[in-house]
C-alpha cells in the first residue's frame, strides 16, 4: 500500500504541474508586472527543480499541510473540510438507497429467474443504468421541485452549523438521482452472482435434503454471493465520486464535487490537488477493506495464497 501511495502522490503532483498556466501569474492576476510574478515564483519555490518542489510538497503533506487555496486564501485542508458535510451526507443517503433497493430487488429477480418479474426488473435496471445522472436530476427537479413543489429545488443549508436535521429534505432528490444508476448496477450484480451460486452442487444438496426454498436461498445462495456484492462496493464508491461531481452541480449543492468543477474553472490548483489526493486515498482504503471483507465472507480465501483477482 505504501509504494502505491507514493506513486499516487507523484501522479497527483505531476498532474497539477502539467496543467498549463503559471500559478504565480494566476494568483496575481493579469495586471501584475513580470517582476512581481517572478518574486512570487521565488517565494512559492516555483523556480526550483520539480523534484525539489515535490519533496517539499510531500514533507508538508505528511505534516498535514496541503497548501493554501489561491481563491479562498485559506488552507486547503479546511476548505475541503468545510465542503465535506454535504458530500458525506449525500453519499451516505445514496448508499442507503442503493443497498435497500439494489440487494433485495436483485435477490427477488434471481429467485424468480426467467419469469415476467425478472424480465421487468432486468429491463428497468438496464434502462436506469443508461440514463445520464444530470438528465435524471434535471427531470426530477422539474417535476418534483418546480412543478409539484414537494421538494426544494437546490442548495443545502448546513446541519452541523446549527441547522436542523430537517434540512436533509434538500438531499432527497439528489440522492435519488445519484442512487438510480448505481442501484441498477447492484441489482444486476446481485442477480448475476446469485444465479452463479444457484448452479452449485451444495444448493442441490440443500434442496434434496428438504430444506425450505427460502432458507436455501438465504442461507446458502445469498450468503455465498455476498462476496461479489462486496467487491462491487469498491467501484460503487468511484461511481459515487463521479456522480457527486455532476449531481452537486445540477442541484447547486455546496459539496466537494462542486468544488472540483469550481476549482478547475477558477484554476485553484492547490485545492484540486488536495481533493484528488484525498479521494484517491479513500478509494484505496475502501479497496483494502473490500479485500479484507473477502476473507471474512469466504473462509476459503486466505491471505498470501494467490490473488483473488
Amino acid at each position: 500500500m505504501i509504494p502505491s501511495l507514493l506513486m499516487v502522490s507523484i501522479v497527483v503532483f505531476l498532474f497539477i504541474h502539467l496543467i498549463p498556466g503559471d500559478p504565480a501569474q494566476i494568483m496575481l492576476g493579469d495586471l501584475a508586472t513580470p517582476e512581481q510574478v517572478e518574486q512570487l515564483r521565488v517565494e512559492m519555490g516555483l523556480d526550483q527543480p520539480v523534484a525539489v518542489q515535490y519533496g517539499k510538497w510531500l514533507k508538508n503533506l505528511l505534516s498535514g499541510d496541503m497548501g493554501t487555496s489561491i481563491f479562498f486564501h485559506q488552507p486547503v485542508g479546511s476548505v475541503i473540510l468545510s465542503r465535506a458535510e454535504t458530500s458525506i451526507l449525500l453519499s451516505l443517503m445514496t448508499l442507503f438507497i442503493i443497498v435497500v433497493i439494489g440487494i433485495p430487488v436483485g435477490y427477488l429477480s434471481s429467485t424468480r429467474y426467467g419469469t415476467r418479474t425478472d424480465q421487468v426488473v432486468s429491463g428497468l435496471s438496464m434502462t436506469f443504468a443508461s440514463i445520464p445522472t444530470f438528465w435524471l436530476g434535471l427531470n426530477l427537479m422539474t417535476i418534483f421541485a418546480v412543478k409539484l413543489h414537494i421538494f426544494p429545488t437546490s442548495g443545502f443549508p448546513s446541519i452541523v452549523d446549527g441547522g436542523s436535521i430537517a434540512n436533509l429534505v434538500y438531499l432527497i432528490l439528489p440522492s435519488i438521482t445519484l442512487a438510480a444508476p448505481n442501484s441498477a448496477l447492484i441489482i444486476r450484480l446481485t442477480r448475476a452472482s446469485m444465479l452463479d451460486v444457484l448452479k452449485e452442487d451444495y444448493v442441490r444438496t440443500a434442496r434434496a435434503k428438504g430444506l425450505a426454498e427460502h432458507l436455501v436461498n438465504i442461507k446458502h445462495v445469498f450468503r455465498n454471493s455476498l462476496n461479489a456484492v462486496a467487491s462491487a462496493l469498491g467501484f460503487t464508491f468511484a461511481a459515487l465520486v463521479s456522480g457527486t461531481v455532476v449531481t452537486e452541480t445540477v442541484f447547486s449543492l455546496p459539496g466537494i464535487g462542486r468544488l472540483v468543477v469550481d476549482s478547475i474553472l477558477r484554476r485553484d490548483y492547490p485545492v484540486l490537488q488536495g481533493i484528488i489526493l484525498v479521494i484517491a486515498l479513500i478509494y484505496m482504503l475502501i479497496n483494502l477493506l473490500v479485500d479484507i471483507s473477502y476473507v471474512m465472507l469466504d473462509p476459503r480465501i486466505q491471505h498470501g495464497t494467490g490473488s483473488t483477482k
Partner: protein, 280 residues
C-alpha cells in the same frame, strides 16, 4: 452470420436496439443532407418555439433548430465514442497482452495501471481535459485513458489464463516465437471478449462525455453535442422543457441500445470468459 440472425429472432429487443443504432449512424453520416436546417443558424424571431411542423423538436434560446442539432450531435457523439473505443481497445489490448505474457513487464505496467485506477474515472478525465485543453481529440484521449485501464485489466487477466493453456505449450514446443504466440495464438482467442468490452465502452464513454459537456469541461461549445445542448437547456427548464427532453432521450436510447447489444453478445460468448467482462 446464421448465428446472428438466429439471435436476432430470439431477442427482438436486440434487433430494435441494433436498428436504432443503424438509424443513428445513417443520421450521423449524412447529417448535412438530412438535417432540415443549419445547426448553427440563429433565427432570433423563432426562438424558444415548442414542437411544430417546421421545427419537429422545437427551437432553442438562439432560435436554432433542435432536430438539426440533434442530428449533428449524433455525429459528434458517435465519432467521439468511436475514438475512445479505438484508442482504449488498441492500447489496452497491447499493454494487457505484453504485461500478461512477459513476467518482467507485468510488475511495471500493471503497477502503473493500478495507480491510474486509484482515481475515479470522471475525476481523472476532468483533470486530463484541464491539462490537455478542450477539444475533440483531447476529450477522446482523456476519456480514453480512463477506459484503457479497464480494458488492460481484462486483457491481462485473460492472457494470464490463456498462457497456461496446452495449445500455447504445443505451439511453443513446435518452435513458435513469442511474438507469434502472442499475436497468432493468444490474441485471436481474446477477440470476442474485447468486442463485448468495446460495446460497453461505447455506451459508458458516451455517458461520460455527455457529463463532461454538461459541466462545461468537455468539447468546445461551438461543436453541437447532446451534453452541451442539455447544459444550455437547463437554464430554461420550466419555460422550454423540450430543450431537455429530446437530447436526453437520444442519449438514453443510444446508451441503452449499446448496452442491450453488449448484453446479448456477452451471452453468446465463451462461458469461460463471461465473468471477466463487467458490463451493466
Amino acid at each position: 452470420m446464421k448465428n446472428i440472425l438466429k439471435m436476432m429472432n430470439s431477442r427482438k429487443i436486440t434487433f430494435i436496439g441494433m436498428l436504432f443504432l443503424l438509424i443513428l449512424i445513417v443520421l450521423g453520416l449524412f447529417a448535412p443532407l438530412l438535417a432540415p436546417y443549419d445547426p448553427y443558424e440563429m433565427m432570433h424571431e423563432e426562438r424558444l418555439q415548442s414542437m411544430n411542423s417546421l421545427h419537429f423538436f422545437g427551437t432553442d434560446n438562439f432560435g436554432r433548430d433542435i432536430f438539426s442539432r440533434i442530428i449533428y450531435g449524433a455525429r459528434t457523439s458517435l465519432i467521439a465514442s468511436a475514438g475512445v473505443v479505438i484508442f482504449s481497445m488498441v492500447a489496452g489490448v497491447c499493454i494487457g497482452l505484453f504485461a500478461g505474457f512477459y513476467k518482467r513487464l507485468d510488475a511495471v505496467l500493471m503497477r502503473i495501471i493500478d495507480v491510474m485506477m486509484a482515481f475515479p474515472s470522471l475525476l481523472l478525465a476532468l483533470v486530463l481535459v484541464s491539462i490537455l485543453g478542450r477539444g475533440m481529440l483531447n476529450v477522446i484521449l482523456a476519456v480514453g485513458v480512463t477506459y484503457l485501464t479497464r480494458t488492460t485489466r481484462i486483457v491481462y487477466g485473460l492472457t494470464l489464463k490463456l498462457k497456461e493453456e496446452v495449445f500455447v505449450d504445443a505451439f511453443r514446443a513446435a518452435g513458435a516465437s513469442n511474438m507469434r504466440l502472442i499475436f497468432k495464438h493468444i490474441l485471436p482467442n481474446l477477440i470476442s471478449p474485447v468486442i463485448v468490452q468495446a460495446t460497453f465502452t461505447f455506451a459508458f464513454s458516451l455517458l461520460d462525455m455527455a457529463s463532461l459537456d454538461f459541466l462545461g469541461l468537455g468539447l468546445p461549445p461551438e461543436i453541437p453535442s447532446w451534453g452541451s445542448m442539455l447544459s444550455e437547456g437547463a437554464l430554461y427548464l420550466s419555460r422550454a422543457p423540450w430543450l431537455l427532453i429530446f437530447p436526453g432521450l437520444f442519449i438514453v436510447l443510444t446508451v441503452l441500445s449499446f448496452n442491450i447489444v453488449g448484453d446479448t453478445l456477452r451471452d453468446q460468448m465463451d462461458p469461460r470468459f463471461r465473468h471477466d467482462i463487467q458490463g451493466v
